[in-house]
Symmetry: C2
Subunit: 876 residues, 2 copies
């Protein structure tokens, strides 16, 4: 039997998401639920894959299935495709497994040509509507399928409007539109050297191909990378009967959520426009009406819609995001999907759905994307300061949070300034479009002049957890002058503003921010997560301050305390530099003695901040050259300080330079050449532990040796640590239990972990270095070529952001297995930056790691991710 590539809506259901895409599966499901869905069919994601494997051609087999399905659709619609009298018009839309709003192409009104447009005019008794639809179709098709730029068509319309001395599109009459259509076709032929296609079959195959192609357009690739969507998934294509919201005052179109996507409040929430097409609402060109007002205008339709939304929410057991169209007083459902929501809303909805007995606790936990929590953890404006701040203007509170930053007017500028100058920026645009994605990523917040709560800017910002104020109509932007004005106040490019996505307020200058609090539903929700998860969550913190923040966020220990960071302090670095450039043991020991009391007091602070929780302290790790001055001034200062000649010191500093510092004299290699550093650090750790334990705080320091590649390295350093520590402990008479372990961050350590485990009390995966060495490229240098890797689809994600489970993960699995073979109860954790990434945490859970350690602000994310990992593994 032939493989099935095309499914009528009534042949699918919501479980067929992988084949039909999200949109297609839900259209099928709604059809099964007997909801008023304009019928159609879905060309599967497998057809897309087939298209790419088949040198970007639709196979004859698939073409045949599309033709058959079109015939079925004609029977259902009782209209004929390309018919002169009552033509069937369809929309052709992409629909991937995961929602990728606005990333791919759509064509509406397909099926129109020079003769069918007349049939449409006749059948609808609305010639203006028919010709307007046709000119829209020519524009859209030319752009999407034939790559004829939009602006050429727009200037044709402008010319005719000027000629007719009219301003609005709506003022164009049938004759005007006919003239436009004719000029459009001429323009098309001029551009392409062939006539605008009149054959509806040709139109549809070309349109389907264009949608397939759009799966690989640059902005789709960027979006996929950001959202971890593999390119191998492909997109499905939905071909659906057109319904029209722009046929007059009994028509309209809108989008709605079953609950408030900003707050989670259980209340129908949405917007609509009368006499408009769907694109008008989404693009944010006209500002729409709140959904509640529909009750007055069309009470029957409203009632029907409320019933449908409730039915859908119950059916999907989640908040729904729906699109609908009213055509001549009849309601049609165009789409439903689980709605995107803010983190706040996600938590409130999850807790509410549990309370409403719609979800179990485990199901509720899975309803919140761990990454989203991030937006709840970042500061908001200090209310007292906010109260006194004068509001410049107000827009819609499109995505909550607060942001201060310098104003820039293009996505490119935002990317440039944020990256190269590391400055905080706010993107200000009339409205945003998918091309602006990267600029939005780089910005602290987004401010738009047009568009509503469901405009592109609002939807995308909420997805990113970025603050956004939309539809701020008082603002006049002058892109050329690079400024905007509100009344007579002018804000230039580079000026600082503050925006509050929770209220929609915009302020001049920056406003003090404060840390968030974690009570109410957040607290309830996180306590559920903590009750479920088994993986401990630690933090990477080098100072008592960071340790405190992390504990407030729920950290259960420190997984990585980097001792070197303690030396970057202005006052200390000079002592540390002396240690580095010292000639001989005596000088080095003297310098170490100066550093010693500082290290001890740092450790005391960290131990106190973590109370009874474990603290893993890593011995000095980075190449020493990093700490040295490189400017002649800096060298001169240090030389004076050390009573050395400038030349002498310069030579010493030169001699410490390395060809490949990442592969140089660092990590445990420093400890082997300079055991006196280990002795000093061990003394500081143990004496600090003794002092703090006198205050009735339990301190069990875990001393961690970095960059081990051979068990002998660890053995040698461990013996120094033990000798130093045991002597101090014995003298003090206070019992301190300490352990000595190692990072697993070289591939050799991973593969010889059974030997290393003999000497190690614990392992901690340093996945940053492990990634660098497994691939053989350094993070700093890889950025130069990784962009090409994404473009050429060699990599889909950055292995430094998302753990490479296949390669680096194999090393981790080997190392855990070998380590536990030697020492079944060896404690194993991860302290690379992957420790805060939900997918990587899921992998760590599968490896049965004892803990993950991440930056303080990632701790809640990790807590939730660890809970979800456990739940998911039980579902498998």
């Amino acid at each position: 039997m032939e493989k099935k590539y095309v499914y009528m809506f009534n042949e699918g259901n919501s479980t067929m998401r992988n084949i039909l895409g999200g949109k297609g599966a839900n259209l099928a499901e709604m059809t099964n639920l007997d909801l008023p869905v304009p019928q159609g069919f879905t060309i599967s994601t497998e057809a897309c894959t087939n298209y790419y494997e088949n040198s970007q051609k639709i196979s004859s087999d698939i073409k045949k299935q599309i033709e058959d399905s079109l015939k079925k659709l004609e029977q259902i619609a009782k209209k004929k495709f390309g018919d002169d009298e009552n033509p069937l018009l369809v929309s052709v839309r992409s629909g991937a497994r995961a929602s990728m709003p606005g990333m791919m192409d759509t064509i509406l009104n397909l099926g129109l040509n020079d003769s069918s447009v007349e049939g449409l005019a006749e059948a609808t008794k609305n010639p203006r509507f028919a010709y307007d639809s046709y000119r829209r179709f020519i524009q859209m098709y030319s752009d999407v399928v034939e790559n004829v730029p939009k602006h050429g068509f727009e200037s044709i319309i402008d010319k005719i409007k000027t000629k007719k001395e009219i301003k609005l599109d709506t003022e164009l009459n049938v004759e005007d539109l006919k003239e436009i259509i004719s000029t459009f076709k001429e323009h098309f032929k001029f551009q392409k050297n062939f006539d605008f296609p009149q054959d509806s079959a040709e139109q549809i195959f070309k349109a389907v191909e264009a949608v397939f192609r759009s799966w690989e357009n640059p902005r789709a690739i960027v979006y996929r990378r950001m959202n971890d969507i593999p390119s191998s998934w492909g997109t499905a294509v939905n071909v659906q009967m057109m319904v029209f919201g722009n046929m007059g005052d009994t028509s309209g179109t809108g989008v709605a959520f079953t609950r408030d996507p900003s707050t989670g409040e259980n209340k129908l929430y949405g917007e609509y426009l009368i006499n408009a097409q769907g694109e008008d609402v989404v693009a944010g060109v006209r500002t729409p009406e709140p959904i509640s007002t529909l009750e007055k205008i069309m009470p029957e339709i409203y009632k029907q819609f409320v019933e449908i939304s409730q039915k859908l929410e119950k059916h999907y057991r989640d908040m729904q995001d729906m699109e609908f169209t009213i055509e001549n007083g009849k309601l049609y459902m165009l789409q439903t999907r689980n709605g995107k929501r803010t983190a706040q809303a996600a938590i409130n909805i999850a807790v509410d759905l549990f309370d409403e007995k719609m979800l179990s606790k485990n199901e509720a936990i899975l309803k919140v994307e761990p990454k989203q929590l991030d937006s709840l953890l970042h500061p908001t404006f200090v209310p007292s300061v906010l109260k006194k701040s004068k509001v410049l203007t107000k827009g819609l509170p499109a995505s909550p949070g607060a942001a201060c930053g310098k104003v820039y007017f293009t996505a490119e500028d935002c990317v440039e300034v944020a990256k190269s100058k590391s400055e905080k920026v706010i993107l200000v645009r009339l409205e945003t479009s998918p091309e602006d994605i990267e600029g939005m990523v780089s910005s602290e917040g987004i401010l738009t002049v047009r568009g509503g709560m469901t405009s592109h800017a609002a939807v995308v910002a909420r997805g990113m957890g970025k603050c956004c104020v939309a539809g701020c109509g008082d603002i006049k932007i002058n892109y050329e002058k690079k400024e905007f004005s509100v009344n007579d106040i002018i804000i230039k490019e580079g000026d600082v503003i503050s925006i509050d996505g929770g209220t929609g307020c915009v302020f001049v200058g920056s406003i003090e921010m404060q840390n968030p609090e974690f009570t109410g539903n957040f607290g309830i929700f996180m306590s559920w997560a903590d009750g479920i998860r088994v993986t401990k969550i630690r933090t990477n913190a080098d100072t008592p301050e960071d340790a405190k923040i992390a504990r407030d966020f729920g950290a259960e220990g420190i997984g990585l305390c980097r001792t070197e960071h303690m030396f970057f302090d202005k006052e200390r670095i000079s002592h540390f530099r002396k240690m580095i450039v010292s000639k001989g043991l005596k000088q080095r020991k003297d310098a170490l003695n100066e550093i010693f009391p500082m290290q001890r007091s740092d450790f005391e602070g960290v131990f106190k901040a973590m109370q009874d929780f474990p603290v893993t302290i890593r011995l000095l790790d980075p190449p020493l050259h990093e700490f040295l001055p490189h400017s002649d001034e800096g060298i001169k200062k240090l030389a004076d300080d050390m009573k050395l000649s400038f030349d002498e010191l310069k030579i010493t500093i030169e001699s410490l330079k390395e060809f490949n510092p990442m592969l140089g004299h660092r990590g445990c290699r420093l400890a082997i050449t300079y055991p006196e550093i280990v002795i000093m650090q061990t003394r500081a750790i143990i004496e600090a532990a003794i002092n703090v334990s006198k205050e009735n705080i339990k301190v069990n320091p875990e001393i961690m040796v970095p960059l081990v590649g051979d068990v002998n390295e660890l053995k040698y350093i461990k013996s120094i640590i033990a000798e130093t520590a045991d002597e101090i402990i014995e003298k003090s008479g206070i019992k301190i239990e300490y352990t000595v372990g190692t990072m697993i961050e070289t591939p050799r350590a991973a593969i010889l972990a059974d030997e290393i485990a003999k000497e190690a009390d614990f392992f901690s995966f340093g996945t940053n270095d492990l990634t660098q060495m497994a691939y053989g490229f350094s993070r700093d240098d890889a950025s130069k070529f990784l962009e090409d890797y994404y473009v050429k689809k060699i990599f889909e994600v950055d292995p430094f952001a998302r753990l490479d489970q296949k390669g680096v993960g194999s090393f981790m699995k080997i190392a855990s297995d070998l380590g536990r073979k030697t020492k079944p109860d060896i404690k194993i954790g991860i302290c690379g930056e992957h420790g805060g990434d939900p997918q990587s945490i899921e992998f760590c859970y599968k490896l049965n790691l004892n803990y993950v350690s991440c930056s303080p602000f990632r701790v809640p994310v990790a807590r939730l991710a660890a809970a979800q990992a456990k739940i998911k593994s039980e579902l498998e």
Copy 2:
């Protein structure tokens, strides 16, 4: 039962080498053969290990066993240890599993004290001998056991000689010696604050401990590292009755080989001294007589010795190196061992022993150390030039080969100049001592004034395959002025001389050298090896010249042809630089087009040189920055050439700098960013193959992609290669079969080799990079800290010289297994520098690699090593 740590000579045999050490096992074996061996016992290597594990103390258990053995020895000798009347004297000598000549300590005449010396005088009727032995013992014991420097004792002797107005030690009479002994003891007490020990039991335990300790002295550690002897082996200690060669004219001592260790000639070969102790011969202070002259002086003894040597050679089935002493007309055998020999001798002896039916072919093959062959492959002086060169002076031809180099007079200077200036040096010394080892390693050759064919310099040089001229008595060295003279010709430090270790001749200036020829026994022997081995031997060669040399050495293909080396040519590098700094595709393609014909003609040359053998060509690999000028001049020149401004070019060059070039934009990453380079290289390879195949040479190029970490990289590049190559081949109408494979040199590639094998026709292990990435240190940077690793016994060998079988080897095993799982017949080789190291080759044989590839001069070494690997595996 108690563990046995001490063995009487008659309790052991030659198979117990691991426990008794080489010397101990052979003394036991000779005892079993009823040869005249002074009896004694061996304290096992396990006792040494026990000593180190027991905090450097001899356990009471072992002490007890030593005491018991001493008692047994007293019964055999019919003398009593420490006795006042007829005392038993013993020697205490080290003896490890592997011979380490002169590396560890020895004490003679142990058992003497103030009263037993009188008994000895009485018993031997030779008071002068007795007191001279006592003062020697005090000197040696103080130095070795108590670390009292020798020179203090020497200056005491000098003072007394001055006082007595005598010149030679032999002129000292009994009273002088008694005075010396008394002053020695005072000196000892002054240095150590306790009396020189009179208790013989104390003496012996202390002496044994000192020998154990000497296992870890710095020169022993260096020697072990050079010779791959693990520190865990430990040394045995032999306690043996003293016999004296210095009791008058019917006494003597000597060393001899059953065959000539320089040429292999089947003829007793050796030297002896009448009225001397063993140390006198080895130290080279007096120049000894050839062994053949002994026949006249002591015909009976000579006859007995010849019989013994023949018996020993037959017994051990190998050339023997023997030490003997004649005490008052009676012959004693002190040692026998398989003799060290030159490469030439090793081959001749192996072939002869096979011809004499003493060895099978396989056994004969195992008799030559592959590394040794090296010395046969390097140039000798061109005979015609040599004939015309005036001989400055002549010494003994102590180790064959030829060398030119600058003269230096200390080992330190040789190391320094050879390492830091990469200059060729010749070490010139009165005589060498074990402290000079590292200087000898760094030198091209060694020239000594004193000492014979078995002096330290000669033995060690032969072991190293270095050229050595010894006992060159005409030379007067002035260490202070840093010069030497022969008659009135003065050679200063840094002047160039040439030495011929085959003739003993020394020349002023340098003499032209020539390549060796491979005929006679060498040819026979290598053909045996080739008949046995299954591993193919390829070479790493980038030019037709190197390819030719390698073929002459027996290479069966090129395993690595580095295309980038072709660009370092003066004329070409400018084109290559243009390619690197070009702005945009067009400029880069233009530059590549200029390079293209050169690459093609290079490949033609290489293909022709290798005739029908396979050639693996690696695509451009190193970071581009390596090729660029870094001086302002160089940049200016290139800028002019390219019609760029200096500043513009400098910025481009700066922008290409990387933090960690080893982990940067190199290898296949270049091919991904600049596919046009791959296209050019593929064109050059395939067109060259087509052109050469027209000359009836079979060319099957193997195109190798470097630094792959992910199968997608290989897939992408392979598709470019295939597209380019297939088009050219099709056009040409000539059938060229090419394959595309990859280096396995990142740990990730190793662990994902099953995936990668889907796209690869072959694998080649790049063990240099694999070692760097597995350990996480780069070769260039590691030299800074590896020295500390050796000193602290964290590493015993350099993982870049000897394959790290445990770590890197595991990656190779994983990769071969996975690769063959996907593609059972995938061709796998190694092209890292380890491919020329015998132990590493043995490992590769065990992994069943298809070939190893090494530098041309290592090819014969590899051929032999591969044969030995197979023979050894069959013995296992």
